[in-house]
Symmetry: D2
Amino acid sequence: MPGFKGLAVPGPSNMPFRIRQAMDVALEDHRAPDFPQFTQPLFGDLKKVFQTKSGQVFLFPSSGTGGWESAVANTLSPGDKVLASVFGQFSLLWVDLCQRFGLEVDVIDVEWGKGVPLEGYLQHLVADKEHKIKAVLVTHNETATGVTSDVAGVRKILNELNHPAMLFVDGVSSIASIDFRMDEWGVDVAVAGSQKGFMLPTGLAVVCVSQKALMAGERAKLPRCFFDYRDMIKANAQGYFPYTPAATLLRGLRAAVDMLLEEGLENVFSRHNRLASGVRAAVEAWGLRICAQGSEWYSDTVTTVFVPEGFDANDVIKTAYFRYDLSLGTGLNKLNGKAFRIGHLGWLNEIMVMQALCGVELAMRDVGVPFEPGAGAGAAVRYLSDTGQAMRIAAE
Amino acid sequence: MPGFKGLAVPGPSNMPFRIRQAMDVALEDHRAPDFPQFTQPLFGDLKKVFQTKSGQVFLFPSSGTGGWESAVANTLSPGDKVLASVFGQFSLLWVDLCQRFGLEVDVIDVEWGKGVPLEGYLQHLVADKEHKIKAVLVTHNETATGVTSDVAGVRKILNELNHPAMLFVDGVSSIASIDFRMDEWGVDVAVAGSQKGFMLPTGLAVVCVSQKALMAGERAKLPRCFFDYRDMIKANAQGYFPYTPAATLLRGLRAAVDMLLEEGLENVFSRHNRLASGVRAAVEAWGLRICAQGSEWYSDTVTTVFVPEGFDANDVIKTAYFRYDLSLGTGLNKLNGKAFRIGHLGWLNEIMVMQALCGVELAMRDVGVPFEPGAGAGAAVRYLSDTGQAMRIAAE
Amino acid sequence: MPGFKGLAVPGPSNMPFRIRQAMDVALEDHRAPDFPQFTQPLFGDLKKVFQTKSGQVFLFPSSGTGGWESAVANTLSPGDKVLASVFGQFSLLWVDLCQRFGLEVDVIDVEWGKGVPLEGYLQHLVADKEHKIKAVLVTHNETATGVTSDVAGVRKILNELNHPAMLFVDGVSSIASIDFRMDEWGVDVAVAGSQKGFMLPTGLAVVCVSQKALMAGERAKLPRCFFDYRDMIKANAQGYFPYTPAATLLRGLRAAVDMLLEEGLENVFSRHNRLASGVRAAVEAWGLRICAQGSEWYSDTVTTVFVPEGFDANDVIKTAYFRYDLSLGTGLNKLNGKAFRIGHLGWLNEIMVMQALCGVELAMRDVGVPFEPGAGAGAAVRYLSDTGQAMRIAAE
Amino acid sequence: MPGFKGLAVPGPSNMPFRIRQAMDVALEDHRAPDFPQFTQPLFGDLKKVFQTKSGQVFLFPSSGTGGWESAVANTLSPGDKVLASVFGQFSLLWVDLCQRFGLEVDVIDVEWGKGVPLEGYLQHLVADKEHKIKAVLVTHNETATGVTSDVAGVRKILNELNHPAMLFVDGVSSIASIDFRMDEWGVDVAVAGSQKGFMLPTGLAVVCVSQKALMAGERAKLPRCFFDYRDMIKANAQGYFPYTPAATLLRGLRAAVDMLLEEGLENVFSRHNRLASGVRAAVEAWGLRICAQGSEWYSDTVTTVFVPEGFDANDVIKTAYFRYDLSLGTGLNKLNGKAFRIGHLGWLNEIMVMQALCGVELAMRDVGVPFEPGAGAGAAVRYLSDTGQAMRIAAE
């Protein structure tokens, strides 16, 4: 089918040409004498993206799921208790992983559309007098529902209770797009993936670990080898890896980190917020409902949109894909058929957002969803034009 | 600036990844023993794009301007008379080229917004009892104004008068996008460029020449070497070139021709027409005027849009470019400041058109052009959704 | 430094342009409705590369080490006994992984330069009357020493003893380069990586598992999630993956498998053998010794070459790298400083081998290693020219 | 056929990945408001490559032949006399071009293997009391024979005679590889192409013109339009082009010029000289004769090698190409069948040279040319190792 495909899923995101070019290289020897001159500054700059000074970054040829597994396998022992909440497909899967690794998981079920329940966490932690809870899990941005949670709030509870549990954060669809502060929030393991805010192909778990979590690893009894932080620490210290790294992706990651730091993290975050607000303005103008139940939960990387009763969201998705070359995210688990997702993260500007919105309009009109053609696009044009001018005035 | 740039100029057009990949190859020896196995089928398939059986295709490492020059230098002698009409920047430049080569040009000036004046041509040709006019020039699609002319109509006049003049067509922004029929229309030299309907980088003049024009070349006295058809004929017959060809572009051209033929020329043309109609629906909904003065002149590859009195079209263009990463075409010559151009040709689908229209909306709103945000986008959504369904029903 | 770098390490290997092009694509939605039409034939064709009908192929975004881990974690329980032999860095590391996962490993230490000790395996298996040994590990091609072992021989022993242990094979540097027969040899888990015979960037563990091993997984108690075959089986059956797959590498893998099958596995293997023989002829002409202690151990993908007493192999490697842009493999573990390695696998032809050999000559001459310049190159030219003609005569 | 192809023709040369990446970009609007910020520094830096301060550089979407044509068409009038010498296929073709443009050419025929005859030029210029000779043509590096001529010597003659003729130099296979000094040598038009020392795909004529030649253009009566310097001057002054430029190649040219200037022209030239000397050492060791009849004519970018009597050079070339994936240059015109050419220019290092030499050895041995396998490779290894160390000592 002629024309460029549009990609508006919440990851993989749109890969910039500069990153493509950076990876369009011949394969290389990862044991070359000058390889450390490449890897060591990269690790240093990655820490800036996590906003950490004391944390240590690990790069596994893997995916976000591997990052979750690394967090658990490197710091805990069979039977350890962890506290978690489930409010979407990805928070659900992380809990499942913990259970498979023989952990005891205190699970708080939350209505999908809301995020981490601070009140519930408080109650569990208050009740945990003996500090059996070794780790608290937070899905920073639930990619299934488009809900962002309050990591700092969880840290505040832990601090107030003086509870020693580690704080693990799934930042796969937030880090490098939405403000994330490793050190300030006292995060112990933060998990990111290459294919979201880092604008790369899937294939790297980018994990940042606190010294506290590394020390916990000394006593952790879960078996690990591929994901073992200790081997990584030893080899990374020399600029190498314990086994063949995904060097091509590392070359791309170098470009990605350069781009993020050149733009400035603050600007990256505010750009995501502004573009996401444009999307939300469009959804409102269409008269549709989004999954996040209140502005405190709004995600700046993905918006989950309900279709009206009597319509199948998958019809919209398939029409967008097959007729209009636009990939929208499917509704996952119980949202399937009820909602579609618009991803708006990574290498994104106004006209890419507008393209996705218009693609949704075309597909919805074909399917018969009632709305005024142009209403969403117009609302987004108004919002983006107005705020763009405001931004430029602010910059003067 | 983050995000992909949008390209909505009337050439260069958007290059498909398949073509990029086809050109992302190591350089090669153009005298390799198996080079003819690559070039000869390519020449054969190019003839299909020109809809010719008897014409001969030439590939010069050059641009459209070089193609114009080749037409003149290979077929005419100093002092020869040609008939031409001017109704935009490109028809103007071709006349200028003829004059520099010492030809006597009968020029008919036409209001910009209209195309080749059949009546005027008829008068000149009727008056030319002695057949001093050796060639008649037609700019099939005037890229400056977005006006498509009636080549078949010119041929009809020549035939009715039994006038032996050659028919030269500038098809740079029409061929491979808008229906062009070399044989049926009796065209003697047709000039195309790589960067429009062929979806390639600039760098190839793709020229198709009738046997009649080749024979005229025997007596033509204008000097030529780089653009000499005779050297090309001799070398091409063996599958080679008289000097180093732009082999990388030829590899891309192979992919482009494959894509055009796989889609089917009919489908390529109707796709361009439908997408262009969507653009025109949007312009109408904005309450703006287009340059082409009537639907008989509408171009399916470029639309030239006037801004309202009191506005500078260049403000829209610069705002679109610098704030919204969208390249629009500038108004050329006397249209400068008065109009901007939306290119809609080549590797294009609905969401790419919508992106360009929304970029125009964003820029116009920033600049203060009065219109209802979303009106253009909505009109296009309606048109494209409605006609898309019609097309699918027709296909069943 | 000007000029192309030469890559003569035993993985990553040289990536063909066709594979680069196949991966130079925009990122894509791995949940797209037509994704299964891409993945399902790919799984089918991968089985041909493993020469299996009944095995099941898994693709993890990981590396060979992850493939090893998947073999162990999916089929065994803590305390299970496995039989293994160590004769190089990679056979050593696999044993280490088993121990970390709480397995009891019967390790046979073998002199580096030899491979799997059939006699030793026989003794252990005969002694294992109670069938406590659940799996037998074989490093098919030890990349550190350039030694290929007899997998079929191990299977023969198991069959003759009617021993039910599973047979696990590390084929990372053999599969797709050296003959490997999953079904005929009764292999239960075979582990390959993307960056060797598959000519891709690092980032995929390509694993093939027998039905017997899959059934063993039902009772296996080692924890796993990222590497869990069960999740993969379920999702792959629909053409999808349990978590985001490395889709870009999958696109490259499609091209790689096409290339292997188009060339024909038989031809791939004999090409590797002929080019490796050319390398060995050169080493002999230099008067140097290779690590493999006899032609029965010769590896067709990597040759480990000892430098003479008094020389440091790392000087040769660094000189080749920094002065001549050629990457040679370092000596690993106890071979460090004593040997360098020439990788000759994947996308390789005669002139690439000659380039590597000449790079070695240049570096050795700079370093002062005594040899006759041109001797190695000349021996390889003779061998390759002679056998090339023989091959062509055979083909007629 | 598996493996990378080797390219050892005298252009196109091997394109560096950095240049490929620089050109692997989306197409762009050549009328964009910030396009001049790209083009103007590029023109400035190109002057450094020509070693000129006062010359003006032109970039035509064309090839070297177009550059020749531009030199003639922009500065001369029909009937003007030029002085030229022929000693190979390319000097021959330039003369032919002049004749087709109606110039009167004083041609000195020189034995192929020698270069510009200073003595002959002196005689013609002395005899030309009336200064009817308007231009003197010099093929700096005859690509057919591998002969470099003395441009400075021609300038010296002109100066001594105070002859006002312009000096035109074909530097297609010398500029950016072999020392070329526009200002110091008083060159009036220098012609280069993108696909040799500039390491780019074919498609740009890179021409440098003195102020004297530009002034001559005011009176020149040959017709021109595509190649008209005057249009270029006017548009380039604003950072634009009179017609669509080959912008993708310009992006690559930016990278190429950066690479040349980063390496340093002096280093580029000495690298070419050293690698060429290695090739000549190999040819001597094979016992073969090169076309250049004395070291004063040796070309550092191409070596033309005679095969012994009774052999057909095309057999060597075809064998190298079809069996060993190596492109060698064919013998042109009367050298066809008698000689093959080894190109050694552009992005080249020692191991690339060695690869080409070994490919020649393999092909010659297959064909039966008598020589000692390894002799050429060994001689080159000796030469390159020895001179490499000398260079490094000199650098300390």
